[in-house]
C-alpha cells in the first residue's frame, strides 16, 4: 500500500508534470493494489448484523474475514442467573426464525438432565411443531435467497405462507413467534381440534403453493446463473469445518440427527432425508426445498397417528403442576412454590443433548451443581459454526456472488452471536 510520503510525492510529480506539460509521464497501475471492502453490519443482504471484510483483486474475492459479535447478548451468563424454567422464553430469541425448535431442543436437554420423559402425546406435538418450525425457517430462506438474487415476488409469496403458519402458532401457543410453548416435562397447553384442523388445511395446500414459488425461479436462467456452481465446498472441508444441516447434506453426506440419533418419536415416522451432491448454492437450495416437502409429509403422519392423553409428565418434584390443582390442592401448591422459588434442583452432573434444527445441529450442554440454576450452560449454535465455512466458499468467486452465498448458507445472527 502507498504510504503518505509516496502519495504526496506522487501528487507533486503530477503537478510538476502538468506545469511542465510533460505528457509522457506514467502513473502506477491503479489496479495493482488490492481493495478491502467492508460489507458492514448494516447491509440489506447480510441476514442480520454480520460484518464481512473482503479483500478484492478487481472483482474477485481473494480473502474474507467474517466478524460477528454485534448481537452478543450474553445468553450463557444470563442462564447462570436464571432458573431452568425462566430461560425458556430466552431460547425463542436464539434462532428467531424457528423459535419452536429451539424451545424443543432446550427442554429435551433439561429433561435428559433430570432423567424424565414427556408423555407420548407431548412428544408427538413436539415433533409437529419442530417440523412446522422447519417449514417456516426454510420459507424464510427461500424468500431471502430469492430477494437477494433479485426475485422479489417469491419473497412476498413465502411471507404469505409464513403468515398462515403464524396464525397456527398464535392459536396454539398464544404468540406469533417467540412462543415459549414447551415446558419441562411437557407443553404449556394442549393442541385443540381446531388447531389440528388448521394445520391439516395448511399442509394440504402447501405443496401446490411451494410448486408455484418453484415454477417462478427454479428454471430461470438468472437464478441458475447466480447459484449454480457458486460457493462450492468439498465434503472433507465441510466435515472438517463442522458444517451441519442442509449445508452438509448438499455435499453428499447423508447425516441427519433425526435418523442417526433418533429423539422424540422420529424413529416411528416414515420420511426421507434429501441429499444432493455438488456442495454449491443450488444444491443447498434443492436440499431445503425437498426438506420442506418431507416436513409436510411428517406433519400429516403425526396428525394421523397422534395418541390422546396427557401432555404433562407426572413427576411432582420436577414438573410444574397444573394451575387448577395449584389453586385447589395443598401438595400441588407447595410443589409449585418450591419449584418456582428454588428451582428444579437436578442431580449433579453434565449432559449434552442436540436436535436437528433447521439450520444444523442445535445442542444444549448443562453442567449442574445441584441447585436451581445451571452452573454452566453452553449453546452449540449451528449458525456460529456454519459461518466459519463462509471463507472457503467465498474465496475465488466474484463480489456479487457473496450475497448469494450468504443467502444459501442462511445464517441467523441471533444464534451465531448468542
Amino acid at each position: 500500500m502507498a504510504t503518505r510520503t509516496d502519495e504526496t510525492a506522487r501528487k507533486s510529480k503530477i503537478l510538476q508534470a502538468l506545469e511542465d506539460q510533460n505528457t509522457s509521464l506514467t502513473f502506477d497501475d491503479p489496479l495493482a493494489n488490492d481493495l478491502i471492502l467492508n460489507m458492514g453490519p448494516q447491509h440489506p443482504a447480510t441476514h442480520g448484523v454480520l460484518r464481512l471484510l473482503i479483500r478484492l483483486d478487481g472483482e474477485t474475492v481473494i480473502g474474507c474475514v467474517p466478524e460477528i459479535g454485534y448481537l452478543h447478548r450474553g445468553y450463557e451468563k444470563l442462564a447462570e442467573n436464571c432458573s431452568y424454567h425462566e430461560f425458556i422464553p430466552h431460547t425463542d430469541r436464539l434462532d428467531y426464525i424457528s423459535p419452536l425448535s429451539n424451545n424443543t431442543a432446550y427442554v429435551l436437554a433439561v429433561e435428559k438432565l433430570l432423567g424424565i420423559e414427556a408423555p407420548e402425546r407431548a412428544q408427538y406435538i413436539r415433533v409437529l411443531i419442530s417440523e412446522l418450525a422447519r417449514i417456516s425457517s426454510h420459507l424464510m430462506f427461500l424468500g431471502s435467497l430469492a430477494m437477494d438474487v433479485g426475485a422479489l415476488t417469491v419473497w412476498m409469496y413465502a411471507f404469505r405462507e409464513r403468515e398462515k403458519l403464524y396464525d397456527v402458532f398464535e392459536l396454539l401457543a398464544g404468540a406469533r413467534f417467540t412462543t415459549s410453548y414447551t415446558r419441562i416435562g411437557g407443553l404449556a397447553q394442549d393442541m385443540t381440534p381446531e388447531v389440528a384442523a388448521m394445520v391439516r388445511a395448511f399442509v394440504n395446500q402447501f405443496p401446490e403453493k411451494l410448486r408455484e414459488c418453484e415454477k417462478l425461479i427454479q428454471t430461470n436462467r438468472i437464478f441458475l446463473g447466480r447459484t449454480d456452481g457458486v460457493g462450492p465446498i468439498s465434503k472433507e472441508k465441510a466435515i472438517d469445518l463442522g458444517l451441519t444441516g442442509p449445508g452438509l447434506r448438499a455435499c453428499n453426506v447423508n447425516f441427519d440427527l433425526r435418523k442417526a440419533v433418533p429423539y422424540l418419536v422420529y424413529d416411528r415416522l416414515d420420511f426421507d432425508v434429501p441429499v444432493f451432491e455438488g456442495g454449491d448454492s443450488l444444491a443447498r437450495y434443492y436440499v431445503r426445498m425437498e426438506e420442506m416437502r418431507q416436513s409436510a409429509r411428517i406433519v400429516t403422519q403425526v396428525l394421523d397417528t397422534m395418541p390422546v392423553g396427557d401432555i404433562h409428565a407426572f413427576k411432582p418434584k420436577r414438573v410444574l403442576p397444573r394451575k387448577e390443582k395449584v389453586y385447589t390442592k395443598m401438595e400441588e401448591l407447595i410443589h409449585d412454590f418450591m419449584l418456582i422459588n428454588s428451582g428444579i434442583n437436578p442431580p449433579v452432573g453434565e449432559v449434552y443433548c442436540s436436535v436437528e434444527a433447521p439450520k444444523g445441529e442445535l445442542g444444549f450442554y448443562f453442567y449442574s451443581d445441584g441447585s436451581g440454576q445451571p452452573w454452566r450452560m453452553k449453546i452449540r449454535s449451528p449458525s456460529f459454526v456454519n459461518l466459519q465455512s463462509l471463507t472457503p466458499m467465498v474465496v475465488g468467486s466474484m463480489v456479487s456472488d457473496v450475497v448469494a452465498i450468504i443467502g444459501s448458507l442462511d445464517p441467523v445472527m441471533g444464534e451465531a452471536d448468542k
Binding site: H43, Y70, H72, K77, M156, F159, F177
Partner: protein
Amino acid sequence: MGLEKALGDSFLLTKLEDAINWCRKNSLWPMPMGISCCAIEMMAFAGPRFDSSRFGSEVFRFSPRQADVMIVAGTTTYKMAKVVRKIYDQMPEPKWVIAMGACTSSGGIYRTYSVVQGIDQFLPVDVYVAGCPPRPDNLLKALMVLQEKVQRGESKGTEPGYLSDVPLNAKQPANI
C-alpha cells in the same frame, strides 16, 4: 428540507408548513435498522398482510442518505451502538427514530454486560413501541402516531431551524 427557510417569512407560511408536513407524513420512507428478532416482525410489517406501503412507506430504503425515519428493530449491543449512531448521523434532516420493541426502549429481557439499556442513551427517540416483538399492527399504530407528530412539525432529533417552530433568521447552532 429547509423549504420553509428558503421561502422566507410570509403570511402564507402556516398553510404552507401544514401542506409540507402533510406531504412529509404521507411519504415517510423508513430505514430499517433490523438487528434481531424485531426485524422479522418489521419484515412482516412490510409484507403482504400488514402492508406498510399503503401508509406511504412505499420502499424500505437501506441507504440512510435516502430515508426519513430509522426504525431500530432489535437488541442494540455496545458494539453495535457505534454503527447505529453513525448511520443516524448520515441521515439528512428532518429525521425521526422509532424504537421498536422492548430491547431498544429499555434493554428488554437482557440485563447483561453487553446490551445497551435503551437506545435513548445515545439516540433521540420519537416513538417507543412496546412488545417483544411488537405485532406488526402495533408498529403500524406507531407509524400513525409518528405521522401525527410529523404533521405537528415536531422531531426530537432534528435541529429546530428546519421545522416550523423557530424563527427563520435565528442563529444556527455551531455544531451543524
